[in-house]
Symmetry: C2
Subunit: 201 residues, 2 copies
């Protein structure tokens, strides 16, 4: 199709990325060959290389998409908080993560991205930045709850926020590895563990 619009370009790109996602989730980044990707996308080599200059670029695009999803989720949940306890916020985070994992395997892809970040400095930087942003948002929440009571004040808000943040990868790993049903109860636990001052829920 010559003289094709921008939206056709975007559609192709999305077609490739969707196929890449399936491939990577099935075999991992490096055990997926470009031939696998061509087959999955029902496109030729040339067609794919028109949109991405290398395999690494595809991997990077997928990884960034995944990190953007995670950031969007945390921003949406952590920002929109009508007087909820810290435990309630984290619990909702877990629930949304689980939902997104069931429907599009957010968790599995995240674990793959962590592994890739170990050998890809630029990806590590982006992941670092992602965790930094989530952490910063949690710090604000923690400070609020430290002032209104319900959280210890003899440790820094940063350290407590790091602990909250740490629960997320742990949950993601369990969702990705185990049956998602096996961790269905965890949100209740975090809600109960950090109830906040009496009255909040």
């Amino acid at each position: 199709m010559p003289k094709v619009t921008q939206q056709h370009m975007d559609a192709r790109r999305k077609q490739i990325l969707t196929a890449a996602r399936r491939c990577f989730l099935r075999d991992g980044f490096h055990s997926t060959s470009m031939q696998d990707l061509f087959a999955e996308a029902r496109l030729s080599a040339g067609a794919v290389y028109r949109h991405f200059t290398s395999k690494d670029e595809v991997i990077l695009a997928i990884a960034e998409e995944n990190m953007r999803d995670v950031l969007d989720i945390t921003l949406a949940v952590a920002t929109n908080r009508p007087g909820r306890s810290l435990g309630a916020v984290v619990a909702e985070l877990l629930n949304v993560i689980r939902a997104k994992s069931v429907e599009e395997d957010l968790a599995g892809l995240a674990v793959l991205v962590w592994g890739e970040a170990m050998r890809n400095r630029s990806l590590a930087g982006k992941l670092d930045q992602l965790m930094g942003r989530i952490h910063a948002n949690l710090v604000i929440l923690v400070r609020d709850h430290q002032e209104t009571g319900g959280l210890p004040t003899n440790v820094t808000a940063e350290a407590i926020a790091s602990t909250m943040l740490a629960v997320l990868p742990g949950y993601i790993l369990q969702v990705a590895l185990l049956d998602p049903a096996a961790v269905a109860e965890m949100p209740y636990a975090v809600r109960a563990l950090w109830p906040g001052p009496a009255g909040e829920r």
Copy 2:
């Protein structure tokens, strides 16, 4: 060296595994070629293939070694608990993990193993089993603390233990990705968050 003793065999094996560890931490499992490994171990192809029948077997050995390290740590810390609070136990777990990560990069390797487990069913099974064992140990601890007070009883011990367990991978990921100094405070936070009944520490 013909007719060589068992300990020489073991030494060679260890030599190969040590080299493999360095390679994998530098480049990841699949971006490390066997040639890289030969060079790092200062051995020829034949010498390595005498001890391991395939690259996957080397990866598996490294992964199992790492999981055994983690299990040993958790068993040592979770079992030896002279009336400590749950937070204190988890905090010490984090400290030992950080120490082992500084000296031999336990955390970085663990993240690589998680990624590999996504595409290797047998490895996923072993990782599943590892987490199951740690979880079981935590459940016992949690039940104790639920009975003696200090932990909510309106959620199952299993769910609370899952939450404790979730903190570990999160911490490992932060240690592997960020500067270990950046998470040095987290153990204090964990201790403060789950203090147990008054008097324990």
